[in-house]
Symmetry: D2
Subunit: 467 residues, 4 copies
Amino acid sequence: MAHKKTQDDGKIWGGRFSEGTNAFVERFTASISFDKRLYQHDIDGSIAHAKMLAKGGIITDIEESEILAGLEDIRKEIADDNFEWSVKLEDIHMNIESALTKKIGEIGKKLHTGRSRNDQIATDIRLYARDQLDQISNIITLVQRNLLDLAERESNTIIPGFTHLQVAQPITFGHHMMAWFEMLNRDFERFQDCRKRLNRSPLGSAALAGTTFPIDRQYTADLLGFDSPIPNSLDAVSDRDFIIEIAAAGSLLMTHLSRFSEEIVLWTSAQFNFIELPDEYCTGSSIMPQKKNPDVPELVRGKSGRVLGHLVSLITLMKSQPLDYNKDNQEDKEPLFDLIDTIKDCLYAYSQIIPAIKCNKISMRLSATKGFSTATDLADYIVKKGLAFRDAHEIVGKTVAYAIREGIDLAEIPLDKFSEFSPLIEDDVFKVLTLEGSVNARSHFGGTAPNQVLTSIEIARSNLEMR
Amino acid sequence: MAHKKTQDDGKIWGGRFSEGTNAFVERFTASISFDKRLYQHDIDGSIAHAKMLAKGGIITDIEESEILAGLEDIRKEIADDNFEWSVKLEDIHMNIESALTKKIGEIGKKLHTGRSRNDQIATDIRLYARDQLDQISNIITLVQRNLLDLAERESNTIIPGFTHLQVAQPITFGHHMMAWFEMLNRDFERFQDCRKRLNRSPLGSAALAGTTFPIDRQYTADLLGFDSPIPNSLDAVSDRDFIIEIAAAGSLLMTHLSRFSEEIVLWTSAQFNFIELPDEYCTGSSIMPQKKNPDVPELVRGKSGRVLGHLVSLITLMKSQPLDYNKDNQEDKEPLFDLIDTIKDCLYAYSQIIPAIKCNKISMRLSATKGFSTATDLADYIVKKGLAFRDAHEIVGKTVAYAIREGIDLAEIPLDKFSEFSPLIEDDVFKVLTLEGSVNARSHFGGTAPNQVLTSIEIARSNLEMR
Amino acid sequence: MAHKKTQDDGKIWGGRFSEGTNAFVERFTASISFDKRLYQHDIDGSIAHAKMLAKGGIITDIEESEILAGLEDIRKEIADDNFEWSVKLEDIHMNIESALTKKIGEIGKKLHTGRSRNDQIATDIRLYARDQLDQISNIITLVQRNLLDLAERESNTIIPGFTHLQVAQPITFGHHMMAWFEMLNRDFERFQDCRKRLNRSPLGSAALAGTTFPIDRQYTADLLGFDSPIPNSLDAVSDRDFIIEIAAAGSLLMTHLSRFSEEIVLWTSAQFNFIELPDEYCTGSSIMPQKKNPDVPELVRGKSGRVLGHLVSLITLMKSQPLDYNKDNQEDKEPLFDLIDTIKDCLYAYSQIIPAIKCNKISMRLSATKGFSTATDLADYIVKKGLAFRDAHEIVGKTVAYAIREGIDLAEIPLDKFSEFSPLIEDDVFKVLTLEGSVNARSHFGGTAPNQVLTSIEIARSNLEMR
Amino acid sequence: MAHKKTQDDGKIWGGRFSEGTNAFVERFTASISFDKRLYQHDIDGSIAHAKMLAKGGIITDIEESEILAGLEDIRKEIADDNFEWSVKLEDIHMNIESALTKKIGEIGKKLHTGRSRNDQIATDIRLYARDQLDQISNIITLVQRNLLDLAERESNTIIPGFTHLQVAQPITFGHHMMAWFEMLNRDFERFQDCRKRLNRSPLGSAALAGTTFPIDRQYTADLLGFDSPIPNSLDAVSDRDFIIEIAAAGSLLMTHLSRFSEEIVLWTSAQFNFIELPDEYCTGSSIMPQKKNPDVPELVRGKSGRVLGHLVSLITLMKSQPLDYNKDNQEDKEPLFDLIDTIKDCLYAYSQIIPAIKCNKISMRLSATKGFSTATDLADYIVKKGLAFRDAHEIVGKTVAYAIREGIDLAEIPLDKFSEFSPLIEDDVFKVLTLEGSVNARSHFGGTAPNQVLTSIEIARSNLEMR
């Protein structure tokens, strides 16, 4: 019998459940502790709804004015932290509606006409998520801008290109940064695609079947900046695809950031020593002041798991739910909120880190020199002189093996030795074997040559302008 | 000591590793057992590459002709199952290249000029995935067409709408089917969005930095039907976003199908008894011939976990990988292949099931009648007579409580009793309390009224036409 | 261009990053907002460490006394909410150590001798997790006790046993509850297994390599109730297996609870109508007072995704981390805390729901009667009279088909008709065809017969006693 | 309109569905393509069942003999690949039973008496999984033995210990290997724990409720080597916990292997250059013969995602399934089979790699020398002379800062300079500052000192002996 046991329930369960059944269930089922974050959007949605009710003659213009004024008062109270939240009132909707009725009396009871909490919460989350996507998109753009600046600054800087973490070919650091840029470009696109599907209005779907009041869903959709009303009321109140899509796009984005982070952790290690990070993004140790732990990139790398976890949680949440609204769906908010906060923080961190990256060019160059990184250039050279690719490969293989045995670099092989391996190799080979020769030779669209990198940067800049 | 142990390695490890180290490593690292599925696309890619080499004068026109003819021969041999695969040659690329050189001699060795297996495999998977996305899109459209037909057929059929699996309000079965339609519509959109990002050409990126040959990436992109070349060679060979995106869109699609399946399992239970499935999609029991197990929907429901698993596997695969190509990436293919097969099978199953669904209308209607499903209609009725929404709610609460005590339905309450609860209730209330009255009254865009459902179907049909 | 853009950064990013770089990094990297939860265990660990330092003569007895007194003061201050937390001090360790030094002066600076935050945090989490596992184990036991009582109460109550949600054979409700009991039994075992591996002491491993001070790891392990010190210091500070194991055991537990929840949602639907839940665990609707939404089970079902999400997050977090401590690991705490809270709440909810379940026995029985649920009994009957199993099956198939055509139940088929299907069927068949006959006949270990269920309950009770 | 469309279904769907509905459903629902792997265990289970039927007089001894002989014939036919599998017969059970009846006639039809496919498949998978767990346990032991040998061989070899991938303190390579050993030790324990819960017999639970035949579940459990029969028949046929548990233990194991792999990839990079791998576990490049890509570790790292994916798939599969058997469960086998194969392969790969690791001791040592890795030793030294830990820390911080400015190592600081930082520093400090001094000083249980490592190895060896 391994675990401790006592007679006192408080001890047994850590006092968590001393609250009594009703209070427990209230706490367990209430969402106000987290959905209060939606207050701006709940009020915006209510205002649009009230305007529509007035336009359709379901409430009077005077009632509309009172409701709008009351809601704006409440908005201010909440913003000023002068609002009293109640767990008994369960959620953001009832907290606000109840405050409204307290404030403006009977008229407040009319606000919920032709509406249900089911379409109300669906509207709130969409409005919230849209705002957040726009903020995320803006930070992505900022990170991309900073990448372009860095890539431009280091368009000539040579760094080894790795495959299998083994030196493969020399590339330019600017080219490498542009690979990061491209990843973020797709992330941006994905959030925009997601926004299309998110920006549709569920308002007017009521509990699940629509309402018997003569509502105007197009009007509320317009007021709230939605592209259109959602075509099916059942779908409108049960759909959480857009949350899962944000989580999926977010997981991909975080996967990219985890890859950047891995590289930064590698590059700042004493063994690589390729870059230096600004002190603010590292922690030292009181005892080892030379130690600069890349804490921020490490945390970002770790947080990629967090966002993936939320994605899994959300998909599992929806699995096998019959239509229409089920209480399970309340579990959609906390992962959404947390993943959005996480993504914004991690992007912001990179927006600050990138401009501050300092390249240790000598160290990078030294690494690129090792490992016969221009062997492919030699092979291409021989092919251009007339040999078939696979045969050229074989010759280079033998040449490199020779260089290893001799402990010298390719460029150090004397021409007459080269000729032994292939008579096609002539004096002009040595230009091909330099790092600059190698990167400059890859001068086609998408290649690592500095001029190509600069062209890519230019195109990218003008694309960002058009966002 | 719980587990069995023997001296004989074969026994200890089930004979799996009797192969010797080299054979083990060969098997462990080779991909030919699964990537042979890509042969069509590998050959298509090689043909485009050869044409580009010829156009650029890197090979002669005669060499081009021989290579093309050789590749087409190989394509035929593989299609006819006359091709000898070799694990020693590791992958699809080397199997085909080696066969080509055997077939056409030295010229075959020139095909790989200006190319690497890194950009070759990236090209192959994109071509394969594009084909598969198109097939998936087509099957989605088929399922949607069948849903429209079913929704039209049952646009007047009444079924209870549930929240929390409790009867909430009557809806039409056509309306319910249109909710399924909408889910698939978003799935279709997502696959199209994914296709945009997928349909870009990595060819010409070579190992990671581009090549020193004067290649024309736009030309190969055009030949292969890609929208454009990928702007950065490092990104082009390491990017697997499109696979993850397919997995994410597929997971959402499967989540939808799991929800359809859950409903079908419920509806075919003796307790619900809402629909009947065609025999072919069920299994019986030799001993209980009346038993019709909804095997196909159950399997589809189960397979939603399978696709989510692949999504997780792929994101975890890419997490923290430094650029550029790492061998880990070989693990991208099996999940992709399996999830595509799974999605196609499950969609196809639904394309066949949907037209064959038979509604037990009496049973559906009976369920909708129970549970005071028109209570909301009564509340709306009172509001329209002038009471505030929350006050009307309270009155209906009391009325229903009375009906429960009396064991009668709302429509069975005599008018004078109604008047006791509210003098606003008059003779016209009874029309409001019928199922037909209820559904017909929800006649705005997206509402459950049969005329709205028919309008939605019409719009949807013309949208499908424009695909 | 779909997303909004403004010049004002506050607007663009929602004001999140107005804090300035240093404050941002401080907030981003600090853990005090969540690790303060560990204060009891941090103090317990420090006390054990101080005692060991004194015992080994590394600090004096007087220093020990002052440190202990200071720590107990701090413990009280935190418990009384009189402690001032500082984000600048990053984490729980530095907050407490700093307060100690403020309180007792120079001596406080000696506490950290021979220790590092790496082994300190590892110790804290293990102590915390152990307490929580014990609490979870106790609540599991409570739920199991309540299940035994319910199973005993309803050991004779007949309910249909389903496969594929189709009625298969009659079973007893007590038997069904004992299946739930068994699932929880394995959950209990798993948490106990997990506890073994968790209850080992990392203290004394220091940063990663151990320390140069003459520490006594066995002594601190004993003081803290650990079974033994962890044998390798590198492993001790980097191991987070126990957290993942808790998450895995928790995911399985939540999967079980999701299955219970699904059944409860089904059983409380109007269509099944098998049980009634106490009002406190449902929410009604102000307008439909008869509606009892099973909110609590639905939420529990939804929360199963949440715990699985944390499991995925934690495994992904650890994937590919090189030894030894990396900052990524800070991401282990929030998922752990949240999953523990979630598990405890969900178990507690079930501990309260189970005793309050009311069976609608008539409804259950009626469902069991339908669907020829005793067809297997008829087949077994014929086999016992001498026919082979597969042949008996065939005969029963024909008999049931006849009953369906006639619209009668098996027990309503007249004997002479039975004889037509098989001469082996005699007068004693009718006893076999009753629900009671069916369940009573399955009277072997683990079978559904009431007497077997009662035996199982008895065994289970005495097993629980031995915990 | 982005995707292609043709009139020809074969083209649209890639010919996948040309098979016709019945053949499609047959293929979609059949499991024989993968569950044939269970044939040994299916036959073992049937033999035990037949023996029990005979013992209980339910079949005669002659019938038993014929059944046993028939089953052994079939076993041989399958082993010799002389067995004709049929998709029409759906699964392994019906394929074998049908062959048996063909072979021995009517008697074959009696085998299934008192049994159902539900308890049969549950028995089969448990027997299969038990065998596989034992094999996995054996390979883990092999890897551990090889680790002990390597750790012993390199117990004195110095390598830097990293935190945040920054050099922290010198450790011994043997110590590092023992951290890997400990991880595998927990993996072994977890599989053993899992085995306890797995090794219980579902046989006799029939469809879900038990059977009316006088079966002896203890007897079949004994014959099959199960520890006991499962106490509840409903639970017995629906429980898949053991599969999820294997997947969870497997995911943790693979997480460990991903960490080993990450380290090996780092250590074999030109920048670290700590170890060399045997050629067989790398691939070179025909063009860069010096390049040794660590393909096998990379693949293992990638495969950690694969196993996590299966875990997620399995938990999601079971989420919300009502009791009892549902067809969804058929989806449990493919992930189980694949994850077991994956785990065995990856472990086997490591069992071969580990003995072949060659340490570049000079390179390791050089790295450990850099980065003031003995700064902690200096601080401990000062504390031992009487200063408080935090004060000593401050002094060392200043000393290191000085060394950085001067571009010298700690050991190169002259004594009089040391005295300026603290008068407590005396001549004996220089011993403390050596790498050997540092590792030898950490000589307590679990510390990195070579003598401690050797002690750990000895203990570990004797523990392995007792398995």
